[in-house]
């Protein structure tokens, strides 16, 4: 394959890939505030780059990303109060992803990986896959609904990333983790001098609407962005790929 970016291929090249047994990965993200220092694209850039890196090592193509994700929740990404966060409703999102999967099935792909980086998309993605596979009954197709394998990091890695203690994944929005990744994959898009350490006054197991200030932050970062370094980003990337590449290779062979 000339490239793994499906969108840069011609249709006969896609057909060739299908006939060669390739699968397809769909990066799914969001256009969402990521603090004072990260671009709105953060959530769709990361899964796109991850998919491309995985595709380099596997028989997979990467589809154009689903850039616009579902509504942000106050305690995950700040909610629909920030200017710049641009979301679609969950129902539209389900229909869109369902129809895309149906198209990839029509093309002849037998393995479809939905790779999601925006937590709020989660149940909607599963619903889309469930619908596109006729309520999970099509036996000629295999769909993986995949989110970030956070829990796959070993102790040593966690120690390297969080020497002063791990705050929980819940607050890792526009904070150390995502900043570090962007410093690795798109450093020109990180305004590191504007990065701040922030955090909501209150973290709860429930959400409240309308959004109240106590549950979110002024900056949009939910934890310490200044702790990010390029080295941490490299390490995260390497660890993620170490987990993801064999899984995609095995599940999609």
């Amino acid at each position: 394959m000339r490239t793994k970016k499906m969108w840069e291929l011609t249709w006969p090249e896609v057909q060739e890939a299908v006939e060669g047994g390739f699968g397809i990965m769909i990066p799914v993200g969001a256009v969402e505030q990521h603090g004072y220092h990260l671009p709105l694209a953060t959530d769709f850039l990361i899964p796109t780059e991850l998919c491309l890196a995985i595709a380099e090592k596997t028989d997979m193509l990467v589809a154009p990303p689903v850039a616009y994700g579902t509504n942000s929740r106050p305690q995950s990404g700040g909610g629909q109060g920030f200017v710049g966060t641009t979301s679609i409703g969950g129902i539209t999102f389900i229909h869109q992803v369902e129809e895309l999967i149906r198209e990839f099935i029509r093309h002849g792909f037998k393995k479809v990986v939905l790779f999601n980086w925006h937590m709020e998309n989660s149940n909607f993605l599963y619903e889309a896959a469930f619908r596109a596979t006729e309520r999970g009954t099509r036996s000629d197709i295999k769909v993986l609904i995949m989110e970030t394998p956070f829990d796959s990091f070993d102790e040593e890695t966690m120690e390297f990333l969080y020497p002063d203690g791990f705050p929980g994944w819940g607050v890792e929005h526009a904070a150390m983790f995502e900043t570090a990744i962007l410093l690795h994959i798109a450093p020109e898009l990180v305004m590191m001098d504007r990065a701040v350490d922030d955090g909501p006054k209150q973290c709860t197991f429930y959400d409240v609407l309308p959004i109240e200030d106590r549950f979110t932050t002024k900056s949009g970062s939910l934890w310490k962005a200044t702790l990010a370094t390029k080295e941490k980003g490299e390490r995260i990337w390497k660890e993620l790929l170490k987990t993801l590449i064999p899984i995609v290779r095995d599940e999609c062979k």
Copy 2:
């Protein structure tokens, strides 16, 4: 109030509650397989009983439960492969909950608590609340989207519940936790002699459709149901209420 069950009240009594500043709690669950020994109703019985117990101590009414929940996921509840699991699609679920919230707003309630026990409902519930509050912009109403406060248990409680180690909440479906609760609130519905210890061959951070056996179990229990006791159920109940009652009281005053 004669009773906190809104459905057993007459309409003038509901009006009186509204005028008295009461809020409303909507228990949200599922009709879903819960192993060889628990009833399909488990996921709507528990939140209904919890809401009623909370309402006893607060100025809240309890609405008829949303019994039918969204599609089950393979690694959360076994997925849509089990006979008995009876679900509605996420889109219909969103519309239903949105319309119910709009009705409670019409009645005059200023505080609406969605109390959910079925993990798969989560993003859909938030979307429903977001839509019903005009994209989170209505300032005259407050909606809480609340799930189980698992993380609120202290170390001593966890030690009491899991003396031999905690397997993670992910596998606590139809296992120790829910069985213990039902032994406390509805022992007549527990076929304890049929309870088994089970678990999926493979636990992953991704889901696969169509469902494959390796990700789910034969029994439907995802961990050890036999470890449940009535005493553990009482303890869980007490701890949950200890957390929930003050939160509902404070947020809905």
Copy 3:
């Protein structure tokens, strides 16, 4: 069967029922004002109890009721003006019932009875059944869309129930008929001392929106609730079951 309440069964018990040729009944009702003296639950309590009584004598299970019904019409139940009446839109209702029928078909049930007590649900229920059966073309399944067999009462029964004359079924909302039934099946939920005789100023063959007072009543009862007695309730119940049991048995064998 240990019980005919499907929701109290375990999934293997439901599977056993399916394999034994059982059918399934879905009680469909509403959460709707029923005057000064009857609970909001009236319209889902009655069909649930009727279904359970029918199931006692037939090879049928009873599903958790569809408690929330469609919007009330001014001249049938008072319309969407009363506090307490909590309805969902017709479109959501159609989708919900359609998806439930599809699930019961997936379980393997060959006979599905929709038993409805809320007049306003009528056309929507039929549409749901029509859609779930692929526009009425599935030959492997049989769906009954059933409402109350009012016209089955013989002259003697009508004389017993309405010694001073029958006002027409149209006004039998929260009046003699439903009050009598509840006195029989759930007397603890009837505030008989608050029952009144009421009636709309104007009864017409058309409805008007927005709702005007002349078409509905202050109390919510559309006729004489004080005429209800436990004896009438017993008679009604006996007569309804006399009609319904053989029909369900014959149609679902």
Copy 4:
């Protein structure tokens, strides 16, 4: 007004009517089998002609009819088994009527009459009106949802129409009643020599899907079409208008 047919007017003429306080009537029907002798158009021809006759005597315009109605039910019109019966789903129907009402409100009409001749449209029509009036809360508009005033005929008229006994309105599909009306308003469309007397083997209070022969008829007429005469048609028409004209005049003034 040059004509009461809105569709034959120019837009300035409609504007003039609106400014003159006119209301609008929307005839609603179906394209549905009507036996061996009546045209498929029967159900939209009759309400269109009725509306035009009413409009002659009132300050109302008549909109182009909603010709395609919702799915036919087995015991009302034969169901979706007959060739020729051409229906749309209830959901689409609701949206269509809702959007039409919104347009008429935009034009400035203050009174909208939905005049329906196809029983199966009933609940859907109400839902459409409920939605278009913002859940019945708009106070600047009045919508009438009107069906045939069957019960308005006096005893003498019933005696004239049914000298040998009245079979109930339920079977008056493509039978005496509608045939007589068409003999009066569109005799050239009645193939009287093909009219038959027919009736279903079984009349029940419930419907069954898929459709079974016992509930419908071979011809599509549910009772005796041969009893129709032009004289009966004239009488029916006169009686209907006697009831309808004053109601529309009073409600829409």
Copy 5:
């Protein structure tokens, strides 16, 4: 066939037509302002009459027209600012046409022609046909999505119609072309004395919302209506049929 108007036939006659290999044409139009002098019905009258004229010469029936079309665009028909223009949304329109096509397929028709006169319906009609044919994959049915063959006029005809120059089809709304056609097919509906020559201040390749006066006209005619004559109408009609009849005959044989 007694008539080609399907709606005036009985159901056995439609069945006979289907068995005889007939196809079906669905006229699709709009209820839309057409200047000071043409009726709102213009856009559904023309395609209905054209279909009937085509059907006279081919084995086709004509279905009741889809009279209400999609929202008008400012530069095509004046947009949703004119009183009288009565449109439905594109989504409802898609569903309606899809469901009608499905019904005609159920009847047994093998050829379905959608004949559209309202430009704004265009993409929606194709989408409806695409959906009704299972994403264009049904091989047992053929659907034609047909609009006016404007470009089929030869030079001589254009010279006859536009001796002083052709302004482009874009402004032929309620102007010479449609006025001439109505003078031919329904002269009694043309208020020729009110016809004006008009035109928008600005014609652009883009549309603007909300509608601004510069893009539309006061009268609703987008060009010169006074240039219409009955003779031009006859010529247009003859030329249109010369093109359309052989196409429908060939494609639907």
Copy 6:
């Protein structure tokens, strides 16, 4: 502004742009076959690059493109038969664009330009804008629905582009025009050695479903791709911008 790509900005930068009176352009395209030699991305690359070029000279930001467009039509882009063409349905597309416009309105943008390069999106885009602006009635916002200004080329340009004659815009899919543009803006994505001259056997004013070979081409190019040169691409680009920049500047000031 650091960049006009909204997705590379942080949220405070977007807020600053809004406060500075900036408008927003949304590039809308498709993932669609473009012959043997052009990438699937052609239809979303071109409008994105055009928007960025316009934004360089105006106070506009550019949103992430809507990459996936609506279903392709046989005679416009080859239809849904080609492998690689990946589309969403028109209904989902409407909802997606509507919700995006609502989000940009929430951010505070007063001017929204939808810039579309995929013909089949046209009516759906207008519908989305109509809905998002509350049926075109919001006076605080201005939405432009803009397609390619093909007709703006002067005679000299047309002569330069088409020295041997202009075939009509209808066949300029994956042919000279788009190839030339890509040679200018993304030459590395053009496989010029695979470019062919092709054309459908039959060009008609109607579409047929299911797709037949006679209406489309083997290659996917609908005319002569080999006639494209980098120089023509530069000229086209210059001419398009000459037209578009002043329009966007004037309409969005």
